[in-house]
């Protein structure tokens, strides 16, 4: 092809400018990437191939990948990784909530007099609460906590939004090994402040719980269990209505409904009550039959296939988690009298030291950090981009704040939500290494908090099966890739909408 001298010149200059970056990039990213890809198909093992041993490297084809899915460890750690991702809907919801709060009208009509009223009331409230606390004979402890809140209130009253934004964002930008170590101490079962706070509450509940007869407890448990049905049915109804109205696409409908159905099916292994197995399954079947009925009947307004993806995953994901929570809660409730009936009564969990509590403990910490994260800032940006006319029109129609949110804010933020979601999922798939290393004594107890990223590290650097570790990391990459493709396919369409 004819390239003129000028073209060559331009090419040389252009390439010269990217050279420093590209060279480093080749050396530290591209080449290792290629090596890692080939390694995944070999039996590279530190015990065989190291500076003192030079066994021939063998190509083993897809052996590593096949072995992967037969290994209990891999499946357990994949499960852990996915489990820790159920915090994502909460984190997103939390950061949206925080953004909405921070976006509220602070300054409009902010005349001096308003602030005077506010400040005076603030001081009054603080004074009253401190006095009440004294009156209750409270310890220095509760005064301390009250004064922390009071201080925040006063600082926020004076400094306004930027103070709150800093405070909200605090857990996120200080995150790192330091905060993980802090949380490890907070969770300490013997002398951490969390259990110091929980235990008195449990002590209050204990006599009440132990006085509960098992019959009553079982009844209450089954009522809670039935709430799962209510939540699911509402989810089905909302989803089908939105589909009919053209608010969500068919793909979103299916993803949402699958998520909603999961709790219904899991009662088979999670619920001790026979009736629930059949009733829940029946509801699931009926729900899907209705869905097909509605699908055949067609809808009033058409929508593209993938409309409302974020809605499907975030909202229905949230409903799914709530459904799980109800089932779990029902089980706890049924066992409550038995647990409270022991000599010591109800005991606070051992958090990170307990096989079953370690993951929830990490989820709680993740939620704490997720509220005021970068996602919150993205939402703030998204909120400022919503045209005010929409709200004004809604006000004329007399919309309640709730309606304003569902009909304007949530759909308008759909693409931001989608973006946040994709990024969170990618982050979630790759996450957990630092927590496993700093907080839970190398992914313990018994592997309860080992995620794929920590598994790759320990296989590669501890057990020494480098080929296998590469295979795991490429499997992880494949998952990230699918999510990214998904993002491209549907996310781009969204931004254009």
């Amino acid at each position: 092809m004819g390239m003129k001298g000028k073209d060559w010149r331009n090419l040389c200059i252009g390439v010269a400018f990217i050279t420093p970056n590209i060279l480093g990039f080749l050396a530290f990213s591209a080449i290792p990437l290629v090596i890692s890809f080939f390694m995944a198909f070999t039996d590279w093992n530190l015990a065989l191939h190291n500076i003192f041993r030079n066994e021939p490297l063998k190509f083993v084809g897809f052996d590593n990948f096949v072995r992967l899915f037969g290994e209990r460890d891999f499946l357990q750690y994949l499960g852990n990784t996915l489990f820790l991702m159920i915090g994502i809907p909460f984190g997103v919801a939390g950061s949206l909530g925080a953004a909405l709060l921070l976006n509220c009208d602070f300054k409009a009509g902010g005349s001096r007099r308003v602030w005077l009223i506010v400040l005076l009331t603030v001081i009054m409230v603080v004074a009253v609460s401190i006095l009440t606390l004294f009156g209750m004979g409270a310890s220095a402890m509760s005064i301390l906590i009250a004064s922390v809140f009071g201080l925040v209130l006063v600082a926020g009253g004076i400094g306004g939004q930027s103070v709150y934004r800093t405070l909200f964002y605090f857990p996120c930008f200080t995150a790192g090994v330091a905060t993980f170590i802090l949380w490890k101490k907070l969770y300490s079962p013997e002398n951490g402040p969390i259990n110091h706070a929980i235990q008195p509450v449990l002590d209050v509940i204990t006599p009440w719980a132990s006085s509960l007869t098992p019959g009553h407890a079982a009844l209450a448990a089954q009522v809670v269990l039935a709430l799962t049905l209510v939540v699911t049915l509402w989810g089905f109804y909302r989803k089908l209505r939105d589909w009919r109205d053209g608010e969500v696409g068919t793909l979103s409908l299916f993803i949402g409904l699958v998520l909603l159905t999961l709790p219904l099916l899991l009662v088979w292994s999670w619920s001790p009550w026979r009736w629930s197995h059949w009733v829940f399954t029946a509801v699931a079947v009926l729900g899907w039959l209705t869905t097909f009925g509605v699908l055949i009947k067609g809808r009033s307004y058409e929508a593209v296939l993938d409309r409302g993806m974020a809605d499907a995953v975030i909202l229905d994901g949230l409903l799914m988690v709530i459904g799980f929570a109800f089932i779990g809660g029902a089980n706890v409730l049924a066992d409550l009298p038995a647990m409270a009936g022991t000599e010591t009564g109800l005991m606070a969990p051992k958090w990170l030291a307990d096989y079953y509590w370690a993951k929830p403990a990490l989820l709680i910490m993740g939620f704490w950090a997720a509220i005021g994260s970068n996602n919150m800032l993205l939402y703030l940006a998204g909120l400022s981009g919503i045209p005010q006319e929409l709200y004004e029109a809604a006000d004329i129609d007399g919309a309640t704040p709730f309606q304003r949110f569902w009909n304007i804010t949530w759909p308008q933020l759909a693409n931001v939500t989608f973006f946040i979601l994709v990024m969170s999922i990618i982050g979630g798939l790759q996450g957990g290494f630092e927590m496993a290393r700093t907080m839970t004594d190398n992914g313990g107890p018994a592997g309860a908090t080992t995620t794929l990223s920590y598994y790759i590290y320990s296989e590669g650097f501890d057990t020494g099966r480098l080929g296998y570790a590469s295979a795991v990391s490429w499997t992880l990459f494949a998952m990230v890739f699918v999510v990214t493709m998904f993002n491209w396919k549907f996310g781009n369409r969204y931004t254009q909408e």
């Binding site: 041993r53 290994e71 190398n442």
Partner: protein, 497 residues
């Protein structure tokens, strides 16, 4: 912009110079050798002592300086393996021979050991299998220890009891314990004194009990885990009975409800000092902390209660000599130092476990009855003699690779204690499966290991035949140090000298 940019560059370059200048290794004129160990403050004193020892021994440069400088390299354990196989490990590394030798990173020090007196005759027989592989020596211990029951004589006398016998079986232990708990809690609304602390996370107690019945965690050739067997089940049931039925030990819930003041050594130590526990499961190392306390406890110690075959678990922190060391000629003097009087005396004096060289412990009044601490009684002599006579190393298989050897047995114990399995057999079966799966994976990944493994499996078959036929088993067939000692003591071994 330009000025700022160049200014920053100048500052950074200056910072780089400063950083390199102040690096300790650049200050030294003699070769620097690295000891990879934990960052315990005691290591620093030991390093200073080593430098003085070098001078005294005449290992000096022409100007009378020590001929090398020992530096502590306190990196995490997991990266020590990858660094070792990559040629950048420390010159001496605190590590398990069973994990490091198969990688080919350990230097054979058998001949050096004989020449410089840190060989087989210069350490305990019990610990020898931990330092060797296929009969060749690769490591020498820095110190070792044995956990047994330590009691507070004053607590016992307070309740009108004397120290229990040094050697007891399970029935005697339980009888004594029940009596102690009864007297100590007489007339109290709620039990607040226990015979022993919680044992829910101490698998070595049931492990020793099972060994007391002649059963180890692995079979004779270390090729298979054999945990799910009657002896282990009985041991698990016993420790649970101590907690749930006899209330000798607090349950997890009771531990949490005991008032907990922080401080060194955690809850157990402070509660023991306060007289809330009759016995604690400790070794000599705990005296480092106890001696700091103002309360002078009159100690006694007893063997763990178990069946016919007396045994205790010896644990050593041993250093291997790194094959990639640039200074094998220098670092060998460090091993010489570990086996020499000065170092051993310092371990004896500082109560940092037992000295690695029994020669300096045997009949040494400084160890048996330290003059400065008359309250410590005969605990030192007991620990030394038990390690010498009854010591066996913990169950470690070269075919099991993982960050920790007792992960799954701990997991089983935890599940069993928290009622998450139907019975002990179920918990033990799961642990057994996890160990065996891990062995299979490790062996499958390494053809070199496969050969040895196949040979051992074949040996195991023959051992089983011999056992079934009631014949004596050739000593060279047995790889498991416990069975080697057990069969020897029971006269079931065919020994060829």
């Amino acid at each position: 912009m330009k000025k700022l940019f160049i200014g920053i560059l100048v500052v950074l370059v200056a910072a780089a110079f400063y950083t390199y200048w102040t690096e300790p290794s650049n200050e030294s004129r003699v070769p620097v050798v690295y000891w990879k160990s934990d960052s315990n403050p005691q290591r620093y004193e030991q390093i200073e002592m080593f430098h003085r020892w070098l001078v005294r021994k005449g290992y000096v440069t022409p100007d009378g300086e020590p001929m090398m400088k020992l530096e502590l390299d306190a990196g995490g354990n997991q990266s020590s393996l990858i660094q070792a196989v990559s040629g950048v490990g420390g010159d001496a590394i605190d590590a398990y021979v069973s994990s490091f030798q198969p990688l080919g990173v350990c230097l054979d020090i058998t001949d050096m050991g004989k020449e410089l007196n840190f060989g087989e005759k210069d350490t305990y027989r019990a610990i020898w299998p931990m330092l060797t592989s296929e009969g060749r020596q690769y490591a020498y211990p820095c110190n070792l220890g044995v956990n047994t029951w330590w009691g507070n004589l004053d607590t016992f006398r307070k309740y009108g009891m004397e120290a229990p016998p040094k050697d007891w079986n399970i029935e005697e232990f339980e009888k004594y314990g029940v009596e102690f708990v009864r007297r100590a809690n007489e007339g109290k609304e709620r039990q607040d004194v226990y015979f022993i602390p919680s044992i829910a996370t101490t698998p070595s107690i049931p492990q020793m009990m099972a060994r007391g019945e002649g059963v180890d965690m692995y079979n004779e050739t270390l090729t298979r885990a054999t945990i799910n067997n009657p002896a282990y089940i009985r041991a698990f049931e016993t420790v649970l009975r101590w907690t749930n039925d006899l209330h000798l030990a607090p349950s997890a819930a009771e531990v949490a409800s005991m008032s907990s003041e922080g401080g060194y050594g955690g809850v157990n130590m402070s509660q023991f000092i306060a007289g809330k526990f009759g016995l604690v499961f400790y070794g000599r190392y705990c005296l480092i902390r106890f001696r700091e306390s103002t309360t002078k406890i009159n100690f006694f110690s007893t063997l763990p209660a178990m069946g016919d075959y007396k045994n205790v678990m010896v644990i050593a922190r041993a250093a291997i000599m790194y094959r990639g060391s640039k200074h094998p000629e220098l670092i060998k003097h460090f091993f010489e130092f570990l086996a020499d009087k000065e170092y051993n005396d310092s371990i004896i004096e500082g109560a940092d476990g037992l000295p690695p060289n029994p020669k300096f412990a045997e009949n040494n009044p400084a160890l048996y009855r330290p003059a400065a601490y008359p309250n410590e009684g005969d605990v030192h002599q007991n620990e030394f003699e038990w390690a010498r006579d009854y010591g066996v190393i913990p169950p470690i298989s070269p075919y099991f690779r993982g960050s920790s050897f007792d992960t799954w047995i701990k997991y089983a114990l935890d599940k069993y204690f928290n009622n998450r399995v139907a019975n002990a057999a179920e918990a033990l079966q799961e642990a057994e499966d996890r160990y065996n799966e891990s062995i299979d994976t490790t062996v499958a990944a390494n053809p070199l290991l496969q050969e040895a493994y196949q040979r051992d499996v074949e040996l195991q078959r023959r051992i089983d035949e011999y056992k079934a036929a009631g014949k004596k088993i050739p000593a060279s067939w047995i790889k498991n140090p416990f069975y080697l000692k057990y069969y020897h003591d029971k006269g079931m071994l065919e020994e060829t000298e």
